[in-house]
């Protein structure tokens, strides 16, 4: 059985900027950056205004794991690396690390974002895309 959660197109379409272009928010008051997009800065709330920021996509592995028991829709990718990446802007983000043997991933490893397929939905025929990260020198 490989039934994954399926949603209508707008569910994914409204996230394209975040997932395709790595866009988040930056507070013009405290200058902190966030991923994903937030309307309200959790530190400054009404005193700050959020503006879009496009992250460079360069960062380091902050923590990682290797998924061996996948959720629905991810069976074909096992084993795969899930990591928290600390971007050079200081913001952290969760994604997969690819083009890397699961035995070689390490905390502190430099990585850069790339555009990849995340999974294919079943009945709707949608193929879902987004960023993943790969080793970077």
């Amino acid at each position: 059985m490989n039934m994954a959660k399926e949603f209508a197109v707008p569910f994914h379409w409204r996230r394209f900027r975040e997932r395709y272009q790595l866009i988040g928010s930056r507070c013009d008051h405290c200058k902190k950056s966030f991923y994903p997009i937030r309307v309200i800065c959790p530190y400054c709330r009404r005193s700050g205004h959020m503006k879009d920021i496009k992250f460079s996509g360069v960062g380091k592995v902050y923590s990682y794991t290797i998924i061996r028991a996948p959720p629905e829709g991810f069976k074909e990718y096992v084993p795969y690396i899930i990591a928290i990446i600390e971007l050079e802007e200081g913001t952290r983000i969760l994604s997969q690390v690819v083009d890397c043997d699961p035995n070689d991933v390490k905390i502190g490893m430099k990585v850069k974002s790339c555009f990849r397929r995340i999974r294919s939905e079943n009945d709707t025929g949608l193929v879902l895309y987004g960023f993943k990260f790969k080793p970077h020198n």
Partner: protein, 396 residues
């Protein structure tokens, strides 16, 4: 910042009855049978008829994905034969039960209700493994964590990996949590797994999400728990051993783990514990025993630190030195914890309270903590977005 120092209950609250189903795989019972069994046991334990009940609060995480059934509190009131008594469902992922206890507490503490049944239930074994993994992944931030293929064990594995990196926590220390909790469950007739395991067993079990292995993970469990709450001033009419709720605290944090200030500290636990100690007017070293949220072994180590039982980074040492075994400085998860007692997610927070009550009444049999007066229950939703901390005592 949270401004809690003005919060006071209008009146004190006591627990007069508890009911638990056995935790495990119940082929013959669905959501409603489990909830009803625990409900009836609690009413009988409380020595009331059931006609007194004015409100039902029921914790249930995902009846929809696990059993095709939302609207769990309504179902419970219906099959308990309590209509038209109002019923409220609480949902905070794995802290749904803790939230139910808290809502029931608030209902009595406010002066609004005198007799409240607080239940929790989850029926998890009617779906297959990947579906259960998907259902539980709803406890994360779906669009930024689950979307990319993160699983719930995977999220705690990220915590474990960083905890090991920052504090030198070892694979063996994680194993010892599972070993202790299985040893405790041996003496708990309600527990799902009543078998002794060794550290080697844990370390040889299948990898789920490195470094976490199968025996680092709490299981899929069917089960239900209920407690009956009344104002403290009338509790002695119903029981010689009322147990008083001395604190009911809760805090929130980001749903996604990666957005935290620090992924090895559950800030919501720190905040909720601080508030609970303030309400109970005690320090953490006055706690005689605790039921903490060990959904994965690493979570119990973080809980030791975040509840103030030890300093940050020393949680691994605490288990290694046996401080949290029965007979140790502060026994933790005498029930077997989520790991060995089982983790029917919506029931867990209520079942933790039930274990404390058995201990504080002196009814815990072979797992009894001697002279226990004050117990703490710690229930976590997701990777720490919602946390409840309750403190109970057998002294008013």
């Amino acid at each position: 910042m949270m401004k809690f120092n003005q919060l006071r209950p209008a009146r004190e609250v006591a627990v007069i009855g508890i009911g638990l189903t056995k935790f495990g795989e119940h082929w013959s019972m669905g959501l409603k049978e489990l909830a009803v069994e625990a409900g009836i046991k609690a009413v009988e334990d409380a020595g009331i008829t059931g006609n007194e009940l004015q409100l039902v609060v029921g914790g249930n995480m995902s009846g929809g994905l696990f059993a095709g059934q939302e609207h769990g509190a309504g179902l419970l009131a219906d099959y308990l034969g309590l209509n038209p008594v109002p019923a409220i469902r609480t949902e905070g992922a794995c802290s749904s039960g803790g939230l139910a206890v808290r809502v029931g507490y608030l209902a009595v503490a406010s002066g609004m209700y005198d007799f409240v049944a607080v239940g929790g239930v989850e029926k998890m074994t009617d779906v297959y493994g990947p579906q259960a993994t998907t259902a539980l992944s709803g406890a994360m931030d779906y669009e930024t964590e689950a979307y990319f293929g993160a699983t719930f064990p995977g999220i705690y594995a990220l915590i474990a990996k960083r905890h090991m990196h920052d504090f030198g926590t070892t694979r063996r220390q994680l194993s010892l949590i599972a070993v202790k909790n299985h040893a405790n469950a041996l003496h708990n007739p309600f527990a799902q797994y009543r078998n002794k395991i060794t550290a080697e067993d844990v370390e040889k079990s299948a990898l789920v999400a490195d470094p976490l292995r199968l025996l680092d993970c709490s299981p899929l469990t069917d089960g239900a728990a209920t407690i009956i709450l009344v104002p403290a001033e009338i509790a002695k009419k119903y029981t010689d051993t009322p147990i008083y709720i001395k604190a009911s605290a809760q805090a929130s944090d980001t749903l996604s783990l990666f957005a935290r200030r620090n992924i090895t500290t559950l800030d919501a636990t720190v905040h909720a514990a601080r508030e609970a100690y303030r309400q109970a007017r005690i320090a953490s070293n006055k706690i005689n025993l605790a039921e903490v949220h060990d959904c994965f072994t690493i979570a119990e180590i973080c809980a030791y630190e975040d509840l103030g039982f030890t300093q940050k980074g020393k949680g691994g040492k605490m288990i290694e030195e046996g401080e949290t075994e029965i007979g140790g400085r502060i026994p933790v998860n005498t029930s077997g914890g989520l790991k060995a007692k089982g983790h029917p997610v919506g029931a867990t927070g209520v079942a933790q309270i039930a274990e404390l009550i058995m201990q504080l009444r002196g009814e815990a049999g072979k797992r009894q903590v001697k002279n226990a007066e004050i117990g703490l229950a710690h229930n976590v939703g997701g990777s720490g977005a919602t946390v409840t901390v309750h403190i109970l005592s057998n002294k008013k």
